[in-house]
Structures are given as C-alpha cells and as structure tokens.
Amino acid sequence: MAIAQPASNDALNSPDHALLHRIIAADPAAAVQSLTVDSGNIIGIKAGIKFPATAVSSADVNTLDDYEEGTWTPNVGGNATYTTQLGEYTKIGNKVTVCGYMAIDSIGTGSVYIFSGLPFTASSGFHKPGYLDRIIDFATNWYWLAINIKASTAECEFYYQDALDGSSNNVNPAFKDGTTIRFSITYTI
C-alpha cells in the first residue's frame, strides 16, 4: 500500500494527513512519492535518510540514531614525516568503520608501534581487533601480526609474535623509516 499524497490544502492537524504532511516531499503534487509503506509495513524511500549533523543519541538498542562519513589522518606522533596519510570513516549508529593508508617517510620521534588520529574514541571493555591488508618494511620479523584499537582510546596498536615461544608483544619496534601499512577496523564507540 502506497501512502496517498495529501491534498495541498489539507490542514496540518488533519487527523488523516497530519503525519503525512510532515514526512512527504514539500510538493504534494509530485508524481513520485518520496516515501511508501507496503502491506508488510516495509518503508520505501526514494532518496536517502538524512540524520542531523549533530547526532541525537539514543540509548535504545533498537534505534538507529546516526550516520556520518568523513576522513581522518593516521599518524604516529612526534616529528615523523610521511609520504602518505589517508583515512576514511563511516559511522552507523555506535559502530565506526575506519580504513587507512599510512606511509612513513622518517619515523623521527614518532611512536614505533602505536598510531593515532582515529575519528572516534573506542568503547571500554576490550581491544577492538582489526584487519591488515599490506605491510611494507615492518621493523621486526614476525610470525603473526595483529592490529587493534585499544579500549577507551583513539589509538591503534600492533601486537606480534617475533619468536617461536608463543608469546606476543610489541616490545620491539613495528615502524621505521619507510614502513607502509594499509588496514581496516570496525569498532564500537
């Protein structure tokens, strides 16, 4: 069932059309309806859903309260220099997906295993695991390597096993001059 377009002269407080006036396109004579509801109560939208620029957050677990896209800049701090620093994010509700591409030219006084610049602070509880796509010129030889966002921070940390003793650590450096990483992480805020 499609929602009927209200007549242009319907009063906003009309019991039948009050809500429709608020949710249907400004032009009530438009041939294409901007919003429909079918017999299964499925809502159809012709364009997009626009959330307010400043999110009105909801504690209700069934409510989608925000959407945002943007960029961020991965960095290791200090006086490090880069040939590439690119980051993108998409936030849907309380879930943020970031992807990044960072190529260090000179590490200088920058961190050798943590990078920051993330667009949102991660929730507390546990570190949020991520996915590494490409690493070039990692500073330490490793058997396995993991990346995660530390709980309650906007920082990303590397963990790796660099010996066959089964332990993981990040005592030895991960980054050096020329290190390049590409990665993606989805985390809760």
């Binding site: 620029a53 400043t54 945002e68 896209e69 943007g70 960029t71 961020w72 800049t73 994010y89 920051s116 610049g117 993330l118 667009p119 949102f120 602070t121 507390s124 509880g125 546990f126 570190h127 530390k150 709980a151 309650s152 921070t153 906007a154 920082e155």
Partner: protein, 82 residues
C-alpha cells in the same frame, strides 16, 4: 555567483572519559548556499599535547584535561589490557 570554501570546527564533543572529539567541516558555498560538505575528525585524548589545536579546542582542553582527568585516564588504560 561566487564559490567559497569554508573550513570550520563545527563540533567539539567532550566525553565522560575526558576525550575531546573534534569535527572539522569543509563547506563549498555558492552565494551563501551550501553546495557540499565533508568532514574530517580527530580525538584529543587526556594527556595529549593540544598546543597546536584550534583555539577553541585548546580552551576546552585547558579546562577538561586536568591532572586528575589525565591520571584517571592513565589508570584506566592500564586496566584495559585485554
């Protein structure tokens, strides 16, 4: 018909933990009407050097990032080794 580019810090959000989430909006305007907008974000954590931040962010950080907040954050990070 003049196009202008406007870069503004349009959101400074302080979390309970003391993190300051900053959003910069870049707007392309034509005769005062917004044609497009993009966002860039970052976070200033307790203990971070905020001396190079935007003046308003700096003012917020001066108030929020007290020694107590910074110390509490350091303790929390140590507890979060999971």
């Amino acid at each position: 018909m003049a196009l202008t580019k406007l870069v503004v810090i349009d959101s400074i959000e302080v979390l309970e933990s003391g993190h300051i989430q900053v959003r910069q909006a870049t707007k392309i305007m034509e005769d005062g009407i917004e044609l497009s907008k993009s966002y860039h974000r970052w976070v200033v954590s307790p203990g971070d050097d905020y001396s190079t931040q935007d003046e308003r962010v700096k003012k917020v950080a001066e108030v929020v990032h007290t020694k107590e907040v910074v110390d509490a954050y350091k303790v929390k990070i140590k507890e979060n080794k999971v």
